[in-house]
């Protein structure tokens, strides 16, 4: 059954924006039962006169600008008790006929959904909003995915901390329980305030996916030459009074001190950033300390740059997510070391580091055996890592550079990734005339290593094109796009602690070929990809002291050729495997899943 909806629009000058906004509403909206309530906040540019001529809108006129919150409340008060309410800024252009039906279906999709925001883009095409959150210490509102290139990230309905009220659907029962907007806020912060109150009242706040609306942000402020900062600062002071204590001291279900790195260009830092963010949104309070004692520079991520300033408490569970030889720096309450090593054993310093902890977590099951075999005696628990399924999914926009069947490999150049095996297999298997392409997105930070010279030294036979993208430095939010620009991911690695690129490719719906040993063996199997046979376990020869005396897996070159040929010969089967992989990753391996598992254990440890 369709619930009637009142769309409340607040205007304060900017007539041309209002005209375009209402025209788009009238022309596009396919919902059968909606009406328009316009509250004018003392416009002087002809807006009121124009609105008076509109016979399909209920017009409420304020003689002066009462502020956004009061105007909205006046509009809501004019709606019927049987109507749900949509708040829509007059600088928003809806672009999809089903926008209102879609918001309503999300809002009534579950008994606890109360507030539904929308995906918004800027007129320039950048993402503006897929949800929002409040920085816990500096108390500044941040929009998720703000100013990122729109590659269809976060395109599904997702629970979020808050949404902006430029376009929002408020269910009537939520409005009745939570009450109107807080009029202490003239403008700004009133949306976060409402969302937090709704969450405390037991309602979920959701950002709906689907085609985005276009939002010309801050139009009223700009058009009316409002002193933005004075309004913002006043509202922030109100918000601080109401919420600062709750946000920092009461909202969390538990607390943990996180010993890791956030900024260095290494795998631990990339995963640590995702983990701290996921733990924060899972309502676990995270204090931070650099695992190696280094000063922490800004990451550019507003949430993380707030968290690093939070004092690290010694009396809560301590998780060290770093190399095990740094575990000895950790003191205080129950200590957990979370680490990995991609060879068959651990060096003595790592064994000592692990045994100094109360328990050790490893991402992949093979490390239980290798750690135990090296002399780790404390309990070892498998705690898998994850992937951001908002940014890695099959609907991400790809930008194919060629119609050729495209293999992609993403890795840091080095012996462990077996680039020679990959290049030889490709060059030996495919003739020059075949319609295939190998795309190598390679990072190399070692100035002593000349990647091009090493490739030349392989003396490859004539083959189809191999395109080398060296240190391209892709924007992190666009990595999914890189995967979606190819047909198949391939990584004949000799060992992975976890295998993040393999999992990311699978999440994007790509069939993946990767060595069936170490991290990837935990999530890559025949039904969802192409596990690559191991030819033999061989000494791990590389420029890394931790590997000395241990072995890793030598991928089977002939089997790699066979698998690459198989996906080219039967691309439809490969595509189906890729889609199955994406479904499995979404169901099991999101950062949200990881955060819940970590949180559960932290609470068991007394966090």
């Amino acid at each position: 059954m369709t619930t009637p909806v009142a769309i409340v629009v607040v205007t304060w000058n900017a007539l041309d924006f209002t005209q375009r906004c209402l025209a788009a509403l009238r022309d596009l909206t396919d919902h059968p039962a909606w009406r328009l309530v316009v509250v004018d906040n003392g416009s002087t540019d002809g807006t009121v006169e124009w609105l008076r001529t509109a016979d399909d809108a209920s017009l409420l006129e304020n003689r002066e600008n009462l502020g956004f919150s009061r105007a909205v409340n006046r509009g809501i008060a004019a709606t019927d008790p049987g109507e749900d309410v949509v708040l829509l800024n007059n600088d928003v252009l809806v672009t999809d006929p089903s926008w209102l039906s879609r918001l309503q279906s999300v809002a009534h999709g579950g008994p606890t959904v109360g507030v539904v925001g929308a995906r918004l883009v800027a007129p320039e095409g950048y993402v503006q909003h897929v949800g929002a959150y409040m920085r816990p210490i500096s108390l500044r509102g941040e929009q998720l995915a703000g100013m990122e290139l729109d590659v269809n990230q976060c395109d599904r309905d997702r629970p979020v901390e808050s949404v902006v009220f430029a376009q929002v659907y408020l269910r009537r029962d939520c409005l009745d329980r939570v009450g109107p907007l807080d009029e202490d806020y003239f403008a700004y912060f009133e949306d976060t305030d409402f969302c937090l109150r709704a969450r405390r009242a037991g309602f979920d706040v959701v950002c709906a996916g689907g085609p985005p609306a276009v939002h010309h942000q801050s139009t009223s402020t700009r058009e009316n030459q409002l002193d933005y900062w004075s309004v913002y600062n006043r509202s922030q002071a109100v918000f601080r009074r109401k919420w600062a204590h709750w946000l920092e001291h009461e909202r969390h279900d538990g607390e943990v001190t996180w010993h890791s790195v956030l900024h260095e260009p290494m795998g631990y830092a990339v995963q640590s950033r995702a983990l701290v963010t996921a733990l924060h949104f899972a309502n676990l309070k995270v204090g931070y300390r650099n695992a190696y004692g280094s000063p922490e520079t800004a990451t550019g991520d507003p949430l993380l740059d707030d968290v690093v300033h939070r004092p690290a408490r010694p009396d809560v569970p301590q998780i060290a997510f770093c190399q095990a030889d740094a575990f000895s720096r950790v003191t205080g309450g129950p200590r957990v070391g979370w680490t990995m090593l991609e060879v068959t054993g651990l060096p003595p310093a790592w064994v000592a580091g692990c045994n100094a902890m109360d328990e050790v977590w490893v991402p992949a099951s093979y490390n239980v055996e290798t750690f135990r075999g090296s002399g780790v005696t404390v309990p070892i628990r498998v705690m898998p890592l994850g992937v951001d399924t908002g940014y890695f999914h099959p609907r991400i926009t790809g930008f194919r550079p060629s119609s050729r069947y495209t293999f992609l490999s993403v890795f840091e150049w080095g012996e462990r990734k077996a680039p020679g095996t990959l290049l030889r297999a490709f060059a030996q298997e495919f003739k020059e005339s075949e319609d295939v392409l190998l795309l190598l997105a390679v990072t190399n930070r070692d100035p002593d290593v000349d990647v091009e010279a090493q490739i030349a030294a392989l003396d490859l036979p004539p083959c189809p094109p191999v395109v080398l993208l060296l240190n391209a430095g892709f924007a992190t939010p666009q990595m999914g796009s890189l995967y979606r620009s190819a047909d198949c991911f391939v990584l004949p690695t000799r060992g992975e602690g976890w295998g993040m690129p393999v999992l990311e490719a699978m999440a994007c719906g790509l069939p993946a070929i990767a060595t069936n040993w170490s991290g990837p063996a935990d999530f890559l199997h025949e039904a969802v990809g192409y596990p690559l046979d191991v030819a033999a376990m061989v000494p791990a020869v590389a420029r890394c002291p931790f590997y000395e005396g241990f072995e890793w897996a030598e991928p089977d070159l002939e089997h790699l050729r066979f698998l690459m040929r198989e996906v080219v010969d039967d691309p439809e089967r490969a595509r189906q495997k890729g889609l199955a992989a994406a479904a499995e990753v979404e169901a099991r391996h999101s950062w949200g899943h990881v955060a819940e598992r970590v949180k559960q254990r932290v609470l068991e440890l007394g966090g």
Partner: protein, 261 residues
């Protein structure tokens, strides 16, 4: 300041690299490196390195006695002005990067346009009958030299050069040159099923004979459409014939109005 690369931009570079390689004598194969920015004509990467303005310089002085005090004063002065200078430097750096982004965007657009022009300049196939469009007196010859035409009276000569003998083709071209009026045109057809003299060699022979405006032109095979009244087998034969028809390239050239002395 580190700059992140947009995937669509990089994929455009990959496309351009593959396309350029395909047009090269070696073709699109083997290892091809894609520059992160710019190319060997327009080195945008070098400009990018200059975009970020350095704010911090080591403060020092080579004065023997007062050097330390001068360095200290410099350091103090710079620190005291940092609040004022930093936002301007950041603004200028942002502008520089935006300008370099624009250069790179323009370079990529230029590259794409060049490739488009190249593609447009590839002659499209025309019907054999259209090769000498506009000519009124056309002599159609096979392998016999032209002797029935009064010298310099024809304005079009079409030669079906179904021979692999370059001497015979050269004789035909010379004969046609004599038969054509100044400004007249010649079309020499070379068809793949006849193991012809390669079109490039025919073009060279035409130039050697004195023709100008020499170009190679693919010739579309005659279109044979299935007939609603024919049997399925006959129609299949027509389709197969259409698909497997020999490919013809014509060398088209013009006899100059002003002959070289």
């Amino acid at each position: 300041m580190l700059r992140d690369t947009d995937v669509p931009t990089m994929m455009m570079r990959v496309e351009a690299t593959l396309d350029a390689a395909a047009r090269s004598p070696h073709g699109a194969n083997g290892v091809l490196k894609v520059a992160n920015e710019g190319d060997h004509h327009l080195n945008v990467g070098r400009t990018r390195q200059l975009a970020a303005i350095e704010l911090e310089f080591p403060a020092g002085s080579d004065r023997a006695v007062v050097g330390r005090a001068i360095a200290l004063a410099k350091r103090g002065l710079r620190r005291s002005l940092r609040w004022y200078v930093t936002p301007m430097i950041q603004q200028q750096t942002r502008f520089n990067h935006a300008a370099v982004d624009l250069f790179e965007g323009l370079r990529l657009s230029l590259d794409r346009l060049s490739r488009r022009i190249d593609a447009l300049q590839q002659p499209s196939a025309v019907a054999a009958a259209d090769l000498l469009a506009g000519c009124t007196t056309i002599v159609d010859i096979d392998l016999d030299p032209i002797d029935a035409v009064e010298g310099g009276s024809a304005d079009g000569v079409q030669i079906d050069a179904r021979t692999g003998d370059p001497h015979a083709v050269a004789a035909l071209i010379e004969s046609a040159f004599a038969a054509l009026a100044p400004g007249g045109r010649i079309a020499i057809l070379t068809t793949t099923d006849a193991a012809p003299v390669p079109p490039a060699a025919v073009a060279w022979a035409a130039e050697a004979a004195g023709f100008t405006q020499v170009r190679q032109q693919p010739v579309a095979p005659p279109v044979i459409t299935p007939s609603p009244t024919a049997s399925l087998a006959e129609n299949l034969d027509r389709v197969v014939h259409q698909l497997s028809a020999p490919r013809t390239t014509a060398v088209v050239a013009t006899k100059p109005r002003m002959l070289r002395p």
